[in-house]
């Protein structure tokens, strides 16, 4: 018990480091993964911006990143992180590789939730003479919203898992703490505490995600 209280400040910091790197990666996923997913969708056959070339270039790029195991991506991106931030240590540095992993991950989820939309609904919008941008903003995004939110939840939970790996190479966060105390010092109490903390965090993310997705679903 005493060692928990001892590491409480450190646990606190680690928790917020995890939130920080996952948060940044999620933000990047929304900023870049969402548009890429939409591009994948609208350039598909039979859709209003059908374009074989764009579709395959973006698709191949995304598959390329997705086929690299995260732990290898992490190491592979170290020079890039260094170039970008001047360091490879700390939660900010870890968020770079997390973001790179999150973009294609979320893009595919966005694409598949957009595919769930009845093609007829999009066609009806084309038939009233709406521009591509209007259709994306007023039809695709609102119609796919529950799926987009569920997808963000899945991405967040995967990122929490990835963040533990990122922690091991100096990223900080809860994973880093668990490895340092649990693996290197055999301190089971701290390890259990971190595991419980991760479980609570994941449950919380899942619950809120489901709740929001349900609230925005008008179907």
């Amino acid at each position: 018990m005493s060692n928990i209280i001892e590491i409480l400040p450190e646990l606190n910091i680690a928790f917020f480091q995890t939130l920080l790197m996952v948060g940044i990666a999620l933000l990047v996923a929304v900023l870049l993964g969402l548009p890429l997913g939409i591009i994948l969708f609208i350039t598909d056959r039979g859709l209003f911006l059908e374009n074989k070339w764009v579709k395959s270039v973006v698709g191949i790029l995304i598959n390329l990143i997705r086929s690299i195991p995260f732990i290898i991506l992490l190491v592979f991106l170290l020079p890039f992180t260094n170039l970008l931030l001047g360091t490879t240590i700390g939660p900010l540095a870890a968020s770079v590789s997390l973001s790179v992993a999150a973009i294609p991950f979320y893009a595919r989820i966005v694409e598949s939730s957009a595919r769930e939309i009845d093609k007829g609904v999009i066609e009806a919008a084309v038939a009233v003479g709406a521009s591509p941008w209007m259709i994306i903003k007023h039809i695709i995004l609102p119609e796919a919203k529950p799926g987009l939110i569920t997808g963000l939840t899945i991405t967040a939970i995967s990122l929490i898992g990835y963040s533990a790996m990122a922690g091991t190479i100096g990223g900080g966060g809860i994973g880093d703490l668990a490895i340092r105390y649990g693996y290197y010092r055999y301190d089971n109490t701290v390890m259990f505490t971190t595991v419980i903390l991760l479980i609570v965090l994941v449950q919380f993310v899942q619950y809120s995600g489901d709740f929001i997705a349900k609230a925005v679903n008008k179907r």
Binding site: V121, A130, K218, R219
Partner: protein, 336 residues
């Protein structure tokens, strides 16, 4: 006016080539309600979708009000589509938007100023009789109500043409009637040209001024609805007409018939009973009316009698000749 000239649409896949529409030429006049009938797979939807280039024809010309749609840039095409409304069998409303937002979307898409959108949406919902549903979501509406919302959306930008792809096929007969009545009213009040695709001859009978029958991507017959109903020439057209105008006589009755079974067709405003009784008096034959019915095709009555005529063969033939000179059509049917 919608003009289609030698319109062909092929769907190519790696393996084969499907001809959806095969060299169709058709002229639809301003202000008319034009029906296109045919079985599933005949190419009706593909033809209709070529009228606003949802489907780009492989070859041919599509002109709406003199504008060649295939020559337009994508921006001009979008602008033109605002004057061609379209409704579908599946309604295709945006489920995450209220009735108001569904209709407002069409106005926003056309760049209508925000300040007048509210008023225009209310006006449109009044027209389709759904003003009180303005804040509901599509999932809270019945099929007929959804179709009304989609009609409001299609009419938002004052189109000159309304394309209807099986717009009533998902609705029950009463709702179908009310939607058809609404389309009729819009046609009359707004002078809108309406093109209706359907596999139900009832729909054509009810509201189409003229119609075309399609099979295997081709138009096999076209003409005024009354002409098509009263004298169909293509076998397919005949089959379609039968769905509305046929009678099944009980087998027992058919067995007991000794004379000739005759089908008389006449414009219903003519005194058919008088003609028949004149015939019975002038010739020594016995007659017996088994069935009679008057259908209104576009408000013009079309009457059909089925009767048995008995007697000496020569006399019966003369009696039928007499009828041929007085009613629109006389057919001797087999009594099988």
């Amino acid at each position: 006016m919608i003009e289609l000239r030698n319109l062909t649409k092929e769907f190519k896949s790696k393996k084969d080539r499907i001809v959806g529409v095969d060299n169709v030429s058709l002229t639809i006049q301003t202000g008319e309600i034009f029906g296109i009938v045919g079985y599933s797979g005949a190419g009706k939807s593909t033809l209709l979708r070529c009228m606003n280039i949802l489907e780009r024809p492989t070859s041919g010309v599509v002109r709406v009000d003199g504008v060649d749609l295939l020559q337009l840039s994508s921006k001009e095409l979008r602008k033109t589509r605002q004057s061609i409304g379209m409704i579908f069998q599946g309604f295709y409303l945006v489920s995450s938007k209220t009735v108001y937002d569904n209709v407002a979307f069409a106005l926003k898409a056309a760049g209508v100023e925000n300040s007048i959108i509210r008023e225009r949406v209310e006006e449109l919902l009044n027209l389709v009789g759904l003003r009180d549903r303005i804040n509901q979501y599509p999932s809270q509406l019945s099929g007929g109500q959804k179709q009304r919302v989609s009609i409001a959306r299609a009419l938002a930008n004052n189109p000159k043409v309304l394309l209807c792809d099986e717009a009533t096929s998902a609705l029950d007969p009463n709702t179908t009637k009310s939607i058809l009545a609404l389309l009729k009213k819009i046609n009359k009040e707004l002078g809108l040209t309406i093109v209706i695709i359907t596999h139900e001859m009832e729909v054509v009978k009810e509201i189409c001024h003229r119609c075309a029958v399609m099979q295997d991507g081709r138009v096999v017959e076209q003409g005024s609805t009354f002409d098509i109903f009263s004298s169909p020439s293509d076998p397919l057209t005949k089959r379609f007409i039968e769905t509305v105008l046929s009678f099944e006589l009980p087998a027992k009755l058919l067995e007991s018939i000794q004379g000739k079974l005759v089908r008389l067709q006449f414009r219903g405003d003519m005194a058919a009973e008088a003609v028949v009784s004149d015939m019975l008096q002038s010739f020594s034959v016995k007659g017996n009316i088994l069935h009679g019915k008057v259908e209104y095709i576009q408000d013009v009555p079309l009457g059909i009698f089925i009767m048995e005529v008995n007697g000496d063969e020569l006399e019966v033939d003369q009696a039928l000749d007499y009828l041929r000179g007085r009613v629109s059509k006389v057919e001797v049917m087999d009594n099988e």
